[in-house]
Symmetry: C2
Subunit: 239 residues, 2 copies
DNA sequence: CGTCGGGTTGAGTCCATTCAACTTCGGTGG
DNA sequence: CCACCGAAGTTGAATGGACTCAACCCGACG
């Protein structure tokens, strides 16, 4: 079922009913990945693109010294490597952070459909452009937010995106990440990541135990983060 | 003249001759901006998109505390806000770092042309996707490169991009930026930016005086930066 | 000549890193 | 049942990176 994708797209643009069937027809492949597996490997030349149906995934780059940086974080409904349709070669890998179920669209079909359907093409194009807006926000977070604010902004973004695909319960959501993985989002060492988490917990804006986050004071969290959800280009009300 | 744009696009994909005339027809507006002016202001809803013909520009975001972060850097030939065609509202501004001459494409025309020409559409889409790849590289630089390496990587990227549009002379190029502006690329204070520049100068890989950079040892600079130009998706040989 | 924007340097403080140790918890095998 | 192990989280101490505040230099320009 592609429900998550439909929710994702409908929250970002007007999805015409006829287009949902085009998408369903296009996304006819299915695959499962175990935690820790690569959905897509760096340097490969994929012949298909991937929609995440279930689980969490992240784009990453490895440095010469062995350190790792996540450059994007993906939740169900995300078209995780639609950009691969337009590029020759993957300049980064995509990792399953939890067990993942995905749908696959062959690039030949993707080409046929985008050649014939300009409106759907713009919807997909728009999706890659919003992806870019999220990356810009990450640049801002890394460059000019304090580390506690960066973590808060990351949680705000994640909560907002998860809410769109109905993966929140009230102000609670699952975040099955280790602190070492979080450190690769914020560009920190694991030790310091731990201290940053501690400080944010002490702020009273969240409760965070056992891989579950409860936002107890949304406006305080937004304030710490200097968060403005407009970059997510979501239609309708915010989180 | 749109030569810079043609060079830019031809370096990234196969530009069919008929498409150059479509682009020329579409980009019928012209404007000039003085240094320090906004090409596009944050929060606006532009009805056209902008190709930089001459000068340097940067996308930026301002934080609550007044600090600034550049999220992208633009050289002649860049379609600086093509993504605005697909988004409602600018989540960031675009600043002229030097006097800028630009060409404008009305979004109505852009829509007509992209509705009718799937190949050109994919070329433009691809351009926004490569933009995203550059942003990912900035995330990696901010997160996991040392500051000297980040500066080196920025210079490698810039040199490579300027070379495409014939704005280098041998291993030399103009970089009319203040250190304060550079600091807003690297996410540093101006004082520390100055020290980072000093260290890179001492490495012997570059000469940098009077807003002109000469790369005296390209392989050393690449080594310091851990630079791999593949993310730029350029066809043919590198810098 | 004075001023101003940009560059440079020093000193002190705070942030983030490394290295190291210790805890908790779930799983595994004796 | 318990001893052991490994993964994840937590904490301390010392080092080095990055910040602020402050001062000073220099060349362009009025």
């Amino acid at each position: 079922m592609l429900d998550a994708l439909y929710l994702h797209l409908a929250a970002r643009g007007n999805l015409i009913p006829a287009e949902t069937s085009l998408l369903a027809e296009m996304l006819d492949g299915r695959r499962q990945f175990r935690k820790g597996e690569d959905l897509v490997t760096e340097g490969s030349r994929p012949t298909f693109s991937t929609v995440l149906l279930d689980g969490l995934a992240a784009r990453y780059r490895l440095m010469e010294d062995g350190s790792r940086q996540f450059t994007a974080f993906h939740v169900p409904g995300d078209f995780v490597d639609l950009h691969a349709f337009l590029l020759e070669r993957m300049d980064h890998g995509i990792l399953a952070l939890t067990p993942c179920r995905v749908a696959l669209a062959d690039h030949v079909k993707l080409k046929q459909i985008t050649d014939a359907h300009p409106h759907l093409t713009k919807l997909l194009w728009r999706d890659t452009v919003i992806d870019g807006a999220i990356q810009r926000e990450w640049i801002v977070s890394l460059g000019r937010r304090g580390k506690v604010a960066h973590l808060a902004a990351f949680l705000c973004e994640l909560f907002t995106r998860l809410k769109v695909v109905h993966l929140t319960e009230g102000m609670k959501f699952r975040l099955p990440l280790t602190q070492a993985e979080l450190a690769d989002v914020l560009g920190l060492s694991t030790v310091h990541m731990n201290r940053v988490v501690k400080i944010l917990r002490q702020s009273g804006a969240i409760l965070w135990t056992d891989h579950t986050v409860i936002i107890t004071d949304w406006s305080k969290l937004v304030d710490i983060a200097d968060f403005d959800p407009s970059y997510l280009s979501l239609i309708g009300k915010r989180g």
